[in-house]
Amino acid sequence: MGVAAIKEYAFESADRLENFHGNQLLYIGWDKHLMFCAPFCLPLPPAMRLGDIIEKVLPGVFGYHPDFARIDWSKVEWLKSGQPWRADFDKTLAELGLKHKDVLRFQTPDLNGIKGSAS
């Protein structure tokens, strides 16, 4: 039983895909840059290319950090749900198999935050 209840208790998820007006949620975190207190939650169209997300969306999200301008995106390492993941910037979220509420992390091994403090 999924819950202690006095009678049948079944509801749909409050955050199911169809509630987001054609977008899906993508969570994205930048490891060792905890000046951003938490990973981010972005509503994005499934037909958006990853490359466009990096070029057009991420600067507004992470651009405040002095390390952001120094990122060499060809060397960035990606994780999906904590497992190594191959990014292809030309593919869309749907083509990359990224589902609603998937979580990506990216790592920039030479860049470790303010004074190397992971901030």
């Binding site: 999924g2 819950v3 202690a4 209840a5 006095i6 208790y9 079944a10 509801f11 749909e12 998820s13 409050a14 955050d15 199911r16 509630n19 987001f20 007006h21 977008n23 949620l25 969570y27 975190g29 490891d31 060792k32 905890l34 000046m35 951003f36 207190c37 938490a38 990973p39 981010f40 939650c41 972005l42 509503p43 507004g60 999200v61 405040y64 749900s81 904590g82 589902k99 609603h100 509420k101 998937d102 979580v103 992390r105 935050g113 303010i114 004074k115 403090s117 992971a118 901030s119």
Partner: protein
């Protein structure tokens, strides 16, 4: 000579008997199961409600008399505080933000506790606990009222106090305390009593009230201090009730043990997560500090709580789960929380700021293993940027934990440089968690938590704009629309303390009170 003289007055014991136990009866027109429909579904087995020992033999008439006396004293002090412009005697205006946090985040919980205890009191078939719950229910609504009355004085002069009731159900960070209590009152009466009566009121309450009340005393806030002390005599009764509940349930049937243990694990963790706000308040928001969050945790949880769980071991209860993680986290969570409010200061109904150099030194000294290494660099960087007119306001919404609803700010046990990510697939959807504790709580009752009203997701679904607002209109400003929906006044309630209206007004008024020009 041996005629019986009927006594005019009942003895204390008889009176107590008549006015508590004597008020109950076995129903016959309707079955007891119909009258008390929530008494059994949680799986708790009670064989003899008369075994309930009332921790304080208080009857309603005595309760009224005693509380009325206390209330008179409290209001005399509150009035004097207001009439003498007591708000100008606090250490500095930053302190007032701790009071805002209390009014917005804690006082509504007192009201919810009132509702919860009224509900539990209605649903228990046993008279003893029903009367005890009734009194606690009244205590809780009195606490909500006296807090609101005391703090309404600040609302005359400072921003961020004006819409606590409206904001509780809307503002992103308030979903943390709110969902905590909603989780408790939507549980059955037994779980509610273990959640709030025991885990919160008994195990964790000192970590809530002592910091706020002592913080008020240390920072010259007589009004807040007084309602704290007034509530304290009730708290002692609540703690005793919380402990009695646990012992009673465990003594009734051995099958109750695993259910109660799971609730203790869950609610200690849930409560601990909510207390992150208190930790932040202690370490960052009190101009005159009382003790660090870490020290408070060591005294009030590790020492006092440790003794409690030793005492409960004879019932088969072990200490709550995840204490090893909490032990490591105590060096970090207050800093992580303050950084979060600093990030999202534009969407918040109190101000944040960078600690002064002295305050940073205090933090270094209290947190030798963590502050200088992990947290000072980001605070100093932010300070430098703010000086250049580039104060950091994070404008992208964060990922939240499905259970505690706190942004995913907490780090891996043992690695303060790495955010802790946990996830579960349930019926075709993914759910994310800040910790093993929150993940396990979800897994135990997924159907409950898949309905969580997560503020970030609700904003993206378009549910956090006022009626008539068109998010597809050209030039639509989502932040402004959300703040409107919150009833949060941009530029007054939010942003940095430096340059705020509160700061300017306080300085001007205190100047008038202490200088001749």
């Amino acid at each position: 000579m041996d005629m019986k003289v009927s006594k005019k007055k009942l003895g204390l014991k008889e009176k107590y008997q008549h006015m508590t136990r004597g008020l109950g009866w076995e129903t016959t027109y309707q079955s007891m199961d119909e009258v008390f429909p929530y008494a059994k579904y949680e799986g708790i087995k009670i064989h003899d409600w008369d075994k309930w020992e009332d921790p304080f033999r208080l009857t309603m008439d005595a309760y009224w008399k005693y509380q009325a006396e206390k209330e008179r004293k409290l209001y005399a002090i509150i009035d004097a505080y207001a009439q003498n412009n007591g708000h100008l005697s606090v250490t500095d205006a930053r302190y007032i933000n701790a009071v805002k946090l209390f009014l917005n985040g804690i006082s509504p919980l007192e009201y919810m506790a009132h509702r919860g205890f009224a509900h539990a009191g209605r649903q228990f078939p046993g008279v003893g606990p029903r009367v005890a719950c009734l009194m606690q229910s009244l205590d809780e609504i009195r606490h909500a009222q006296t807090q609101i009355h005391s703090l309404s004085n600040y609302n005359k002069y400072y921003n961020g106090f004006h819409e606590y009731r409206h904001m509780l159900e809307r503002v992103w960070y308030l979903s943390v305390p709110r969902s905590f209590f909603d989780d408790a009152i939507t549980a059955g009466p037994f779980e509610f009593m273990v959640a709030i009566g025991f885990s919160f009121e008994y195990v964790l309450t000192n970590l809530l009230f002592v910091p706020f009340v002592s913080g008020a005393a240390y920072n010259g806030d007589m009004g807040t201090m007084t309602f704290g002390f007034s509530a304290q005599s009730d708290e002692a009764r609540h703690m005793t009730l919380g402990l009695e509940v646990i012992k009673f349930i465990l003594e009734q049937d051995p099958d109750n043990l695993p259910i109660v243990q799971q609730w203790i694990d869950k609610w200690t963790w849930r409560g601990y997560r909510v207390l992150t706000l208190v930790g932040m308040m202690m370490d960052y928001m009190l101009p005159k500090r009382i003790m660090s969050w870490k020290e408070a945790w060591e005294v009030y949880f590790e020492e006092n709580g440790g003794a409690l769980f030793k005492d409960l071991a004879r019932y088969g209860i072990r200490p709550p789960k995840w204490l090893d993680q909490i032990e490591q986290d105590k060096d970090h969570i207050s800093h992580q929380a303050w950084a979060t409010f600093y990030n999202y200061a534009a969407a918040c109904n109190f101000h944040t700021w960078i600690p002064t150099d002295d305050e940073m030194d205090w933090l270094s000294q209290k947190y030798p293993n963590s502050f200088d290494k992990y947290y000072r660099p980001r605070l100093e960087y932010w300070r430098e940027e703010a000086k250049k007119g580039n104060r950091f306001y994070n404008k992208t919404l964060p990922m939240l934990c499905q259970t505690c609803q706190i942004p995913m700010i907490f780090t891996e046990p043992g690695d303060p440089t790495q955010i802790c990510y946990r996830e579960v697939d349930y019926k075709g959807n993914k759910y994310h968690f800040c910790s093993d504790g929150c993940k396990e709580i979800f897994e135990h009752e997924p159907e409950k938590y898949i309905q969580s009203w997560l503020p970030v997701h609700q904003i993206y679904q378009g549910n956090c704009f006022n009626e008539g607002v068109d998010p597809t209109a050209e030039g639509f400003d989502p932040l402004a629309a959300v703040l409107d929906y919150y009833h949060l006044n941009f530029g007054r309630d939010n942003l940095d303390f430096e340059g705020s209206e509160d700061q300017k007004n306080f300085d001007a008024w205190r100047g008038m009170a202490t200088k001749n020009t």
